[in-house]
């Protein structure tokens, strides 16, 4: 059990850091929640690869939650670093739009006004808290899906041996 707990953190760190970086980069983060689910699935895959024990869906949920928490922290840090760059990039983009388009797409100006780039401490903390909650839930989901997809099938018992009931980490027949 201790060995399994030690293994749980490394895949979650790898998946969480990767997802946090991708989620924090503008334009790349357009895949929304699919990043965090994909990252948690990656963490599940790495955990299965490194584990000798057969894993259950609850193991997927746990590693997914850890992945989500790591991703939320990393995403917040990446966004803090990227905010001045984002501001310059999107202001440049708005100027280009204004040159070539008679009318702005609806909602675009509002989306990129000054308030969108504010980095006050309360805003950062609230963002981190909300990211943590949502990423944990989505991470749990991704981890469970990952276990379902990547878990190796149990070895077939030799002919004549009694059937052993499957645990809830396995799919229904």
């Amino acid at each position: 059990m201790n060995e399994q707990r030690t293994l749980t953190l490394t895949p979650a760190l790898i998946g969480g850091v990767l997802v946090g970086i991708l989620s924090g980069i503008p334009l790349v983060n357009c895949l929304c929640c699919l990043w965090i689910i994909g990252g948690a699935m990656l963490a599940s895959y790495l955990l299965i690869k490194d584990s000798t024990a057969r894993l259950t869906s609850s193991d997927g949920a746990i590693i997914g939650v850890f992945t989500g928490i790591v991703a939320a922290v990393v995403k917040t840090v990446v966004e803090l670093i990227m905010t001045p760059l984002n501001k310059r990039f999107f202001q440049g983009l708005m100027e280009r739009f204004a040159e070539y388009m008679e009318e702005m797409p609806p909602g675009l100006e509002e989306m990129f006004d000054e308030s969108a780039f504010e980095t006050t401490v309360p805003r950062i903390l609230i963002g981190l808290l909300m990211s943590g909650i949502i990423f944990s839930a989505l991470g749990a989901l991704g981890g469970i899906i990952g276990i379902s997809l990547f878990q190796k099938k149990p070895p077939q018992p030799p002919q004549g041996a009694p059937n052993v009931p499957e645990n809830t980490g396995n799919r229904q027949p």
């Binding site: 259950t56 609850s58 797409p105 609806p106 989306m111 963002g127 989901l141 809830t168 396995n170 799919r171």
Partner: protein, 166 residues
């Protein structure tokens, strides 16, 4: 607490969570239409997981919803999937869906998302919404299974029974 009650508890807590999420999605534009500053928190709640691009969001009370059309489909699909889960599985046991079912419902969403990402096409709101609903409807079968299994395993560990016996 029996296994059945644990599964039911996970189910109803999840149902409460998804109802809250869907409520906030629709509350955000309503609050904005009324000039309430609270709408910022509603939009901020979904900001980590949705690009919230107004052109890709359905409008409600004259303002875009807190999530895009695809994400709205996923949340609504999840809510619908909760109903299907209760009817198909009940609360007596948990089991994961088949992989081919997951692939079947995921494929349209991935295809549409990649097509839009690489500018092969620009899908209308209704198509994004539908692909989201399809995928969202299977998610409760994984979420409830995994979370309920966590609490069942925890109970078994406390009782001193080995983990992998169902």
């Amino acid at each position: 607490m029996s296994q059945r009650n644990r599964i039911a508890l996970v189910y109803f807590l999840t149902l409460g969570g998804i109802l809250l999420c869907v409520g906030i999605i629709f509350l955000a534009p309503y609050l904005k239409s009324r000039g309430s500053g609270l709408n910022a928190f509603a939009y901020l709640f979904f900001a980590p997981t949705c690009h919230q691009i107004p052109a890709r969001s359905i409008c409600f009370f004259g303002h875009p919803l807190a999530v895009c059309a695809r994400c709205l489909g996923i949340y609504i699909g999840f809510l619908g999937g909760m109903g299907i889960y209760a009817l198909r599985r009940g609360f007596s046991a948990v089991a994961m869906p088949k992989v081919r079912t997951l692939i079947l419902v995921t494929f349209p969403l991935i295809l549409d998302a990649l097509g839009n990402l690489f500018h092969l096409w620009n899908a209308p709101h209704w198509l994004r919404f539908l692909t989201g609903i399809l995928w969202g409807s299977i998610l409760p079968f994984y979420f409830i299974t995994g979370v309920a299994d966590f609490f069942i395993q925890k109970k078994r560990l406390k009782a001193g029974r080995p983990e992998n016996i169902s």
